[in-house]
């Protein structure tokens, strides 16, 4: 029996304008991205019979984080779908894509519109980046899993992941000078990406001089909230022959979560759930890390890209610091080019799907000045802390 990954492809990609404060609505951005992706896939809206997003409407984090829900997008485009889904639980943002793959693989849909939309920059307004509950809006009390962090003034993922990073620093001797190369590399690549939001040169000294947020994270360890939408079309594999560009295939997904799904009870703070998703990924393919040409690894915080590099086996566990030191190995001409569009640190926080979009551009040979020559296999990873998902994508 064929692995379900072989039954679908990414037939089209689309992306809206991206900006720090576009003052456009989430649905407006989503439609822009969706129409581009549908046309890129050689389809019309009448062909789209499935829709999926992460997380979509109604989430507790609010619409600027969650983006419009599938009912809103379906209605706006008057889609007639056989299958539809959204939600925040699953292997990170990639859950929406895996769900689409499962629907196509099971025969429930032929062409699924999958999107992720954020308006966090406009939502932030003129003020600084907010923490959860820090503005007094939860004065009546917080329940659920966040009762174990927020009441201790750990308001932000910057705090939660700083705890992971500090443990890594302690256990393996990782340094700020090493970690900083994730951010410096991202900025270097962003200079070659016209849609990236931060493109001015940044040196390691600039990185080290930035104000601290939550040790060991300084300002440039944290990604940049933006407005923007990314859409992809997941189609039946036999649609590949109908495209005017290479299809992008799914070689394998990593969706496992084996440690406790908790920020502070997870067994190994230095890896968190990336370990499980990455381990699972390699059980579903004969390819090995050395076969990967580009790595688009989630960098909501710099440290997450480091843990993904280790977890996916591009270097040994604990050796991520020395591996990225100096930045040569992760540069565009290095042994594993990392976050070729600038990641979320400099490209903008498209929240996961930006990495998928960039991987597709690289595999299709459409990445312009930042194209990695001959890229045929891309690793994509999303998520941080107890939330993780990974994929290997290939040029068909």
């Amino acid at each position: 029996m064929t692995d379900f990954e072989r039954r679908s492809i990414i037939s089209g990609i689309g992306q809206s304008a991206i900006g720090r404060r576009l003052n456009r609505t989430g649905i407006d951005l989503t439609i822009e991205a969706a129409l581009e992706a549908v046309a890129d896939a050689g389809l019309t809206l009448a062909d789209i019979d499935g829709i999926a997003t992460y997380p979509g409407g109604g989430g507790p984090a609010g619409p600027d984080f969650s983006g419009p829900g599938t009912p809103e997008v379906q209605d706006c485009l008057r889609l007639q779908v056989n299958w539809h889904t959204g939600g925040i639980e699953g292997p990170a943002q990639l859950a929406a894509i895996v769900n689409a793959m499962l629907a196509v693989g099971a025969g429930l849909a032929n062409h699924v519109l999958v999107y992720r939309t954020v308006t966090e920059a406009t939502g932030q307004g003129a003020g600084g980046r907010k923490g959860i509950g820090s503005g007094g809006d939860m004065a009546s009390g917080i329940g659920g899993s966040m009762q174990w962090t927020i009441p201790f003034r750990a308001y932000s993922a910057a705090n939660w992941l700083a705890l992971n990073a500090q443990r890594h620093f302690h256990t393996y001797g990782t340094t700020r000078e090493q970690l900083g190369m994730i951010a410096v590399n991202a900025r270097r690549n962003a200079a070659l990406n016209p849609k990236a939001v931060y493109r001015d040169p940044m040196s390691l000294d600039d990185y080290l001089a930035a104000r601290m947020i939550s040790t060991p994270f300084g300002l440039f360890d944290c990604d940049a909230p933006v407005d923007g939408s990314t859409a992809i079309i997941v189609s039946r594999a036999d649609h590949a022959s109908g495209l005017d560009h290479p299809a992008v295939g799914f070689e394998a997904v990593g969706t496992a979560l084996r440690g406790r799904p908790s920020w502070d009870q997870f067994d190994d703070l230095t890896t968190m759930a990336a370990r499980d998703a990455a381990d699972h990924l390699w059980t579903r393919t004969d390819l090995r890390p050395a076969d990967v040409d580009v790595a688009e690894l989630y960098d909501g915080f710099s440290f997450l890209a480091l843990t993904w590099l280790e977890s996916l086996g591009f270097c040994a566990k604990g050796e991520g610091g020395p591996f990225i030191e100096g930045g040569e190995r992760i540069a565009l001409d290095g042994e594993i080019p990392l976050n070729t569009h600038g990641g979320q640190l400099s490209g903008g926080r498209l929240h996961g799907f930006g990495f998928v979009h960039e991987a597709c551009l690289q595999l299709r040979g459409e990445a312009g000045e930042r194209q990695v020559a001959g890229a045929e296999v891309a690793a994509v990873a999303n998520g941080g802390g107890p939330i993780a998902g990974a994929m290997l994508l290939t040029k068909c």
Binding site: F152, N159, Q166, M212, S214, T215
Partner: protein, 136 residues
């Protein structure tokens, strides 16, 4: 003495009230399986180790070590003072941890593996289990 910082309180319900009010007698409590002695945090109705459903809050020593920490500098809640957020692992059981604050010490003097003990901060009926270094 600095003014007590802003804190979001927990929303109490039947599963967590024992934990958040435990400090009233100065002792920290966790749910514990009465069958095999395993501590469950957060509380769940079934012991994941032995399957027993007899789970009751029990006091612990309140001592542990700093498993990791971060010095927060970002003024999320309006307070300009840096403060320490930590994950403390309790002495009673490997992996039994709390995210908390380390108090009564300069932030720069906090270290991983440092021995700490619980120090409650009370507001209304809630007792926040914070930790301070064990006196040498």
């Amino acid at each position: 003495m600095a003014e007590a910082p802003f804190r979001v309180p927990p929303a109490l319900d039947e599963t967590n009230e024992f934990f958040w009010t435990s400090g009233a007698d100065g002792r920290l409590r966790f749910a514990r399986c009465q069958g095999c002695g395993y501590y469950l945090h957060p509380l769940s109705p079934r012991c994941p180790r032995c399957g027993d459903s007899d789970v009751e809050p029990e006091p612990v020593s309140g001592r542990g070590v700093v498993h990791s920490f971060t010095i927060n500098h970002q003024s999320w809640d309006g307070s300009p003072e840096p403060y320490v957020i930590a994950i403390v692992e309790l002495d009673e059981q490997p992996g039994l941890r709390l995210t908390t604050n380390i108090i009564d010490v300069a932030p720069d003097d906090v270290a991983i593996d440092q021995e700490v003990e619980v120090a409650f901060e009370q507001r209304d009926t809630i007792f926040w289990p914070l930790f301070k270094p064990v006196a040498p």
